[in-house]
Symmetry: C2
């Protein structure tokens, strides 16, 4: 029987989520696993449920995160068109697009997530409107007009709401979060631990 997928939770506005998204599939594949992608909203988990400020607006921690993220980019020799501490887009259109595709073309959800992440962070495209999301280079098999209708309709809204509720019920609060066979790991800096967990079969 095939093993359960790794569950990868992320917010498109999260630079740490972006960094982890570049490595999660290779990590999973090395252990014979696939990845199920889950777009969530930090605006709900961090701000509404936890009652915290956005990371970059938190005194001291925001300054550290800026330096830490830039250090992470240098380590990966990554050049992004978008600064890690710039204004944050409204992620609803992108997250609804993701969940509409996950519902209607499940095998393409991961490819769409990566395409959105790449457009937003590496290329620096503003994706705060449904039109902008539908206009990126979409994975083959996703029709831009159908996607736009999906983002703007009630279904996309409902799918995202349900997904965010489910992520909170699973205890997920941060981006990225990886859940492996029910075990949760929070943070881009924990991918090595996920790797070790999979190699050893837990501890």
């Amino acid at each position: 029987m095939a093993q359960a997928p790794l569950h990868f939770y992320f917010d498109f506005i999260s630079p740490y989520g972006y960094l982890a998204s570049l490595r999660i599939e290779e990590l999973a594949a090395r252990h014979g696993r696939t990845v199920e992608w889950h777009a969530m909203l930090l605006g709900v988990s961090v701000m509404k449920v936890m009652g915290l400020k956005p990371l970059m607006d938190t005194p001291l921690k925001g300054d550290y995160a800026r330096r830490d993220l830039n250090r992470g980019l240098r380590r990966l020799s990554l050049r992004l068109a978008r600064g890690v501490d710039g204004p944050v887009m409204e992620p609803l259109a992108a997250a609804r697009a993701f969940h509409w595709v996950k519902q209607h073309h499940p095998p393409l959800a991961g490819a769409l997530a990566k395409a959105i992440y790449d457009a937003y962070w590496r290329q620096g495209v503003d994706l705060s409107t449904p039109q902008a999301v539908a206009a990126i280079a979409l994975p083959a098999g996703i029709d831009a007009a159908a996607l736009l209708a999906g983002i703007q309709g009630d279904e996309g809204r409902a799918l995202l709401r349900n997904a965010v509720d489910a992520s909170l019920k699973a205890g997920v609060f941060g981006s990225p979060t990886v859940v492996v066979d029910g075990e949760m790991f929070w943070g881009a800096d924990r991918l090595a631990e996920v790797d070790e967990w999979l190699a050893r079969g837990g501890w």
Copy 2:
């Protein structure tokens, strides 16, 4: 010329600080470095300056931290008399003791920090009073009566206040934090990155 020490910032009430304290000197020594220990107060940085709740009282994140810490203990085969999510002691007596020793017996400060951490976490001793701190197994060279006077006098209070101010000026907010040649790494899960930073001479 000898290289600068690693600066290790911690709060005695921090279980992640405790876990890192068990590994920091071995890590530093592998790179020909020593460790300068710095007791700080999360009650000042996290609660007063950052305006956040204590970790264990933060919805979702507290639950995760409990699981994550217990996973970290299992990985190290550590058994502690104190649960990672129990009531938190008042750390002022321990932190004043540390800074009084750092002022008067600088070479013994790290040993005292480790003795306090061991008494509090592994042995489960309540160290919320000056008397309790002075009664632990102290490193040779520290006189219990002199230490008790140091904790209770104005000097210990002033030394701790100055140290906490200095840690905030250095941008330190969390426990543990390691500063290597001006570069800051926050979190017990970043020790591997500190190791790599030292091995590569940065990036």
